[in-house]
Structures are given as C-alpha cells and as structure tokens.
Amino acid sequence: MIRRKKIRPELIILSITFLFSAELPAIETTVSNFTINGFGTLGLIRSTDKELGFRETISQKSAFDKYDFSRNSDVGVQANYYATDKLDFGLQFLAKETYKNSLDKSIQWAYINYKVNPKVALRLGRVSAGAFMMSDYRHVGFTHLWTHLPTEFYGAYPVKAIDGMNLMFNQSLFDGLFSTKLWFGRTNYDIYGEVASKVNLDQVLGTSVSWENDIWRLKLSYSQLKARVKNNTIKSLEQELQAASITGWPAAANFTDLLNEDSIIRFYAAGVTYDSSNWLIQSELGLVNTDSILNPGTVSGYLSVGRKLGTVTPFILGGWSKAQDSRLIMPAPPLIAYIPLQQFSQYVFNQNYTAQNTLSIGARWDIQPTIALKIQWDKTWVDAYGNKLLDKLSGAVAEKRQLDTFFITVDFLF
C-alpha cells in the first residue's frame, strides 16, 4: 500500500512566503487595493531541565534540555483586499510548531469586514476574540520587547481567534481613541501532555473596552465560554469512579462531578502600557473562574519594565500564575482494591494544577527598521505539581523545581 505523506501546512506557508517575498517591498506598499504583508521570528531555545521543559503554550511540546530552533520560530503572511470604502477582506496564515497542527489551525484570520460608518465595523468569519491586551497579535514578535509572551499569562489559553463575528466601535476621547468590541463565536485548541485533550470552546461571548493615545494604553475585558474537554482517558475514569461509587466507595461520586467535561469559564482581564521616549512598562492581570478540575481557575499576571537606551532596550519581566484553589487531593479509598483507581485519579488531577513564577531579564536591539534581535534568560520557580504550563517528560513533577531557559530571537517584518 502506498502511504501518502501528509502535506505539512508550515511548508505550504513557507512556500507562499518565498514566492512572494522576492517581489514584495518591506511593510510599506504602493497604491493598491490588495496588500500582502508578513512577520516572522527565528528563535533558539535552550532549557536546562531534563523533566520539565519550556513551551509558549500548552498546545506545544518542549525540547527539554536540547537546543531547539523550531518551537519559538514562526512565520505569518497576511493578505488584505479593500473592495470598497466600506468592504474589505482579510486572510492570515501562520506557520508555527504546535501539537496536531493542520491547515485549519494555520488560518489565523479569514474575515469579511463591513464598515457601517467611520466609527462602527462588523466582521464575520474567523475573527479576533481579543480577551487579553496582546491576544490579536500574540505571534508577531516584532510588536513587543520579549522573546516570547509571558507564559504565565498567555500560555494556558492558546486562542487568538473565533469562528463567528465581532462588532467594533471607535470614538475619539480626550487626546486618544476609545474602542469597544463585542465578540461571539466558537473555537477549539489541543492540549499536549500526558493526558492530551482536545478542548472545544462554544458560546464564546466577550466584550472589551480600551483607550489609547501615544503613550498610554488601557484595556478591560470580560469573556465567558463553554468548554468541553474531549479525552477518552478522562471519560473512562469518570465511568470507573461512577461505578466505584456504587460498589463500595460512595465518596468517589464527588469526583465524577469535578471531572465534568463541560464547564463554564469566565475571564476577567485588565492591562496597561506606558510607552514614553525612555520607558516601556506593561502589565496585565487576569482572573479565570471555572467549575471544573480539568480547567481550574487561576489568578495570573505579569509586569515588564524596559528602559530605552537608543536602539537597545534592556528589560526585566516578572510573571506569575497560581490556581485559585489548592491542589485537589483525593482521600484514601475505603478498600485496597480501589487504590489504583485513586492513584490514577490523582495523577489526572495533578496535570491541571498551576503554581509557577518566572523572572526574566533580557534586551531588545533594533538593528534595522524592521528587524529586532532579542536575548532573554528566564528563571522559573515551580511548586510541587504546579507545572501545568510546562511540558513534562513523564507526568507532573512532585517536588518544587527551578529551571533556567535561554532564548535568542530575531523578529522581522516584510
């Protein structure tokens, strides 16, 4: 039987990039209704721990303590067509290493945009959800100081777009621009790990308000969604616990509810950026409330301070993420026969606990108008079992751990 090789979407996108890049000017374009622009990052990562490995999001694998060029690298291409003053179309592809990548996942934007008037626009298709300050451009390394977004804040929910609609309103306010956005739709993502899962997000509904001028950016957002975790292991576990609750371990029933594959998740986020001629300071805080042990609620945030010194901006960045509740500990069962079930249940619960802080020091050097070189050192402290955001060689690590990760990236626009 002839086995056909699956065409990797990253190769398609790179081919398109090389096809066009020789013909394209830089980010600026000449007069045209049709524009193509792109961005990319070439990144090198080196972690030092053999069991816990850095990853940008929970949809990635880690290279652990090997040098790695692929996981922090990407390339994106965006095409826009402006049919009339009121109607335009957008399409963005991203090639990036993620778990269970596909052509569908590579499509970041695919929308029709209709300007009702100069202040109001309606967009349909694959559109921005925009819950966090940098959600809409999370893959465009050139837009921020660091070699990667703060993992404690952006790593747990690797979602940028929804299939649905959003409505945007802009209005001048004081010396800046006030914007509000509503969005509604659905999406999904994959979690890579010992208990790998697909998570479907339905009834995604959110709103944000923001204001920005040349120095300040402020944003508040609220969003909610219904999450369904699809994983056969968890389904089997739920059935076993249910059966155990009937046959001699009644307390097991309490945990089947917690393994509920459907959960409502609510996100609250606030962010601020101060960008003057000398300083670049940015911070976000986020609160996630859920009713599921498979997607437990967290409090997370980061603070970044950068000092501009000509073309070089050194920075320091602190990120933190902590589960709202203590790690769930399953009590000993009444019968020895249930111990394996209790141990496996505890193993599953341990995969979803977060207690992690990172301190980063680095610098960005703008070597060309559209090219930036960055270096960064992350020092991460992880509590016992608190390593949901990291990749694990064999399940959650039972003791506190510190790990160092080093990054070098070149971010560019074309």
Partner: protein, 121 residues
Amino acid sequence: MADIVVIGNKDIEIKVLSKKQVIDIYMGRKSTFPNGQAALPIDQDKDSTTRKLFYHNLVDKTINEINAYWARLLFSGRAVAPLSVKNGSIVIDMIKNNKSVIGYIRLEDLTDDVRVLNHVD
C-alpha cells in the same frame, strides 16, 4: 533641525490641521478630515531622514517604534499603515492629483502647488 510641514491639496475645504488631527490621521485613529472628507495619508520612504524627523516631531517615536505600532494594528486587522512613496516630489505630485491625499515634506521642498496644513516641530 529641518522643518517638516504637513501638506494637502490646495482645493480642499480644510485650511489647517491641529497637531492632534495630524496624529489621529497618521496613527490610524481617523480616516477622515474634520469635515468628514476621506483622508489618505502617505509616508516617505522607510529609510528617509524626513520620515524619521516627522515621527520624532509628531509623536516622539523612532521608526522602529512606528513600525511596531503599525504591525500591531495591521496584523490584528485593525488598520493599514500609510502608503509609502520615494520622496517629497512624489508626495507633492500625488497631492496635486488627489484631494484626499495628505503628506509631509521638508519646508525647503515646499512649492506653490500644495497647501501647508501644519508645521510639525
């Protein structure tokens, strides 16, 4: 330091733009003049000293910061960066032929074919 002037077509209603109005147009916050007429801003070449001076005087940003700003807007689907042309002569030619176009040049390159809307200093 060279003076930079913002210029527009001589036949448009608008006689002057405030610095804030120029910022709103060049930072993608507004796509119209104050009277509601469409405004199409154009930039000079990315390596141009005039461009560097313009943004330094207008919003105290470097070219890299401006490029990062527009990348943020462009790749989040919010707005498109101003069109770019090679030099001040082309800016003047485009403005002469299109009432919507607004651009910037050095004061020493100014001609009678266009109207000065703002001095950016």
